[in-house]
């Protein structure tokens, strides 16, 4: 009897949860489906969910009209570039703070976090002028520099919380066994640090890929990543839903897949280790 009730309950919960889940996901599903319609079908009334003539025309069109691949590469270079440079700067810092903490380590960490609280718009004007005067406006280099700086505190915090969990005794044990410093780094530290570094890398690529304040304000035609390129669809000419959908699908697909694989790390990273 009790078992019967709990099975029925489970079915009800399943139906409710799936309905809500699909509703929340629907705008993305709809974008994906629309990207395979013709422009006429995209605004047809009544709209068709699956039963239309599937076409990949829009994807070709988006590429040939606007050199989509260039903007895609801009996104790749800017997000990977800023993340890798950020990691190179952050790894030693996080390492030092995790393994030889001083009285001020906590304060330094809190201060770094507080730099994230400064609204970007407070420094928009000088950044724009500095970039204009140094020729960094609308360049990949410029965007990499800014994104590295704005995400550096998050990278350091994430790495710090991961490194903190590596037991210090293991290093001492290795030293007792006569491991040299280079052996210690290669065989003991690196394998233990890699999962944390990988999660940090992943999360930060997601953040940098989707960053839409500086990319919109500091780039134009040449260096515009996908965030800025898609924004150009806000003043459309003629029918464009299907093309917007195709461009959007390609822009969000890689990050969606990356994000789904790193759900757990997402929580940890975004809350600076406060929720695990």
């Amino acid at each position: 009897m009790a078992r019967n009730v709990s099975t029925r309950r489970k079915i009800v919960v399943t139906v409710v949860a799936w309905t809500i889940g699909i509703l929340i996901f629907f705008p993305i599903l709809w974008t994906f489906l629309t990207s395979f319609k013709t422009e006429a079908e995209a605004i047809a009334s009544p709209p068709s969910l699956f039963f239309f003539d599937w076409t990949t025309e829009n994807y070709h069109e988006v590429q040939s009209r606007s050199n989509y691949f260039l903007h895609f590469m801009n996104s790749v270079v800017v997000s990977f570039g800023s993340t890798l440079i950020g990691l190179i700067i952050a790894i030693p810092s996080a390492w030092a703070m995790a393994f030889s903490p001083t009285k001020r380590t906590k304060d330094v960490l809190m201060w770094m976090l507080s730099t994230k609280m400064m609204p970007s718009v407070g420094v928009l004007v000088p950044m724009y002028l500095l970039f204009r005067n140094t020729g960094l406006l609308d360049t990949r280099t410029g965007l990499v520099i800014v994104l590295t700086l704005i995400n550096l505190p998050i990278i350091i915090w994430m790495l710090y919380t991961y490194f903190k969990e590596i037991p210090g005794e293991i290093l001492e044990a290795a030293r007792m066994d006569g491991a040299s410093l280079s052996k210690e780094i290669i065989y003991v530290l690196t394998p233990m640090a890699i999962p944390g570094i990988a999660s940090t890398l992943l999360l930060n690529i997601i953040l940098a890929w989707n960053e839409a304040f500086w990319t919109l304000n500091l780039s134009a035609a040449k260096a515009a990543p996908l965030t800025a390129f898609i924004a150009s669809y806000s003043s459309p000419e003629g029918l464009f839903y299907a093309k917007l959908s195709a461009a959007s699908t390609m822009a969000i697909a890689p990050i969606l897949i990356l994000g789904w694989f790193s759900q757990k790390q997402l929580v940890r990273g975004l809350t600076f280790g406060a929720v695990k």
Partner: protein
Amino acid sequence: MATLHTRSAARLMIAPSVLLLLAWMIVPLAMTIYFSFLRYNLLMPGMEEFAGFSNYSYFLTDPAFFQALFNTLAIVLGVLFITVVGGIALALLLDQPMFGQGIVRILVIAPFLIMPTVAALVWKNMFMNPVNGLFAWVAKLFGLQPFDFLANAPLMSVIIIVAWQWLPFATLILLTALQSLDEEQKEAAQMDGASAWSRFIYLVLPHLSRAITVVILIQTIFLLSVFAEILVTTNGGPGTQSTNLTFLVYAQALLQFDVGGASAGGIIAVILANIVAFFLMRMIGKTLEA
């Protein structure tokens, strides 16, 4: 263990990050403060002159400023309310045993991973458009007049779009916290005859308080500077009905080329963010210590 040698090595390893962030904090901010006291328009180069506090008094007496201040708060509070309440409800639901839980979770998380410009344009065109949008079609299905969301309720539309993006974040974090609740405690409460409601109020909610605080803190930081969603949907309008502080400063700087005025606005935005951060940190300090 920490000899003098390793300590100075540690300092050397931390130095690059600290110096970079220090420079990033100080240099542009100092420039903004300097510009905010100048009469300086990019369309009239070479005409810069000291202007005292006139940029500030101009910005602070501009009716658009109060509208923007109100809109900024409305966006932050509106989105926080929807995402925290909705997030708790969704987390409680997803914590129940069901078939295909992993897939539902993947579906729910997705909006958070979408770039803001895509999210905003998809909602604007394919859902909220009064002629071709899906909402208009649904309204006609029920014999109703389609509602022009972005023209008649621009601020609410922006709030809906932003809330859709942040609901997954709140849900994911609250769900993670919920799953760390001791199963035995729940069972003990149930055995003692506590109703579902009182279990929620006295057991679940206190357990979630830390996660809720974290959600509020992190979302507030991002919600104070919502920008892309406004830029591609309403462009701040109609009039200034959906302009927030970030957008107002942007418009002053890059559309009016008024460097002095925009800088004053930027400094005001920084001061306001600091006030919010101060109260937030105090509130959070209390919860996190407990």
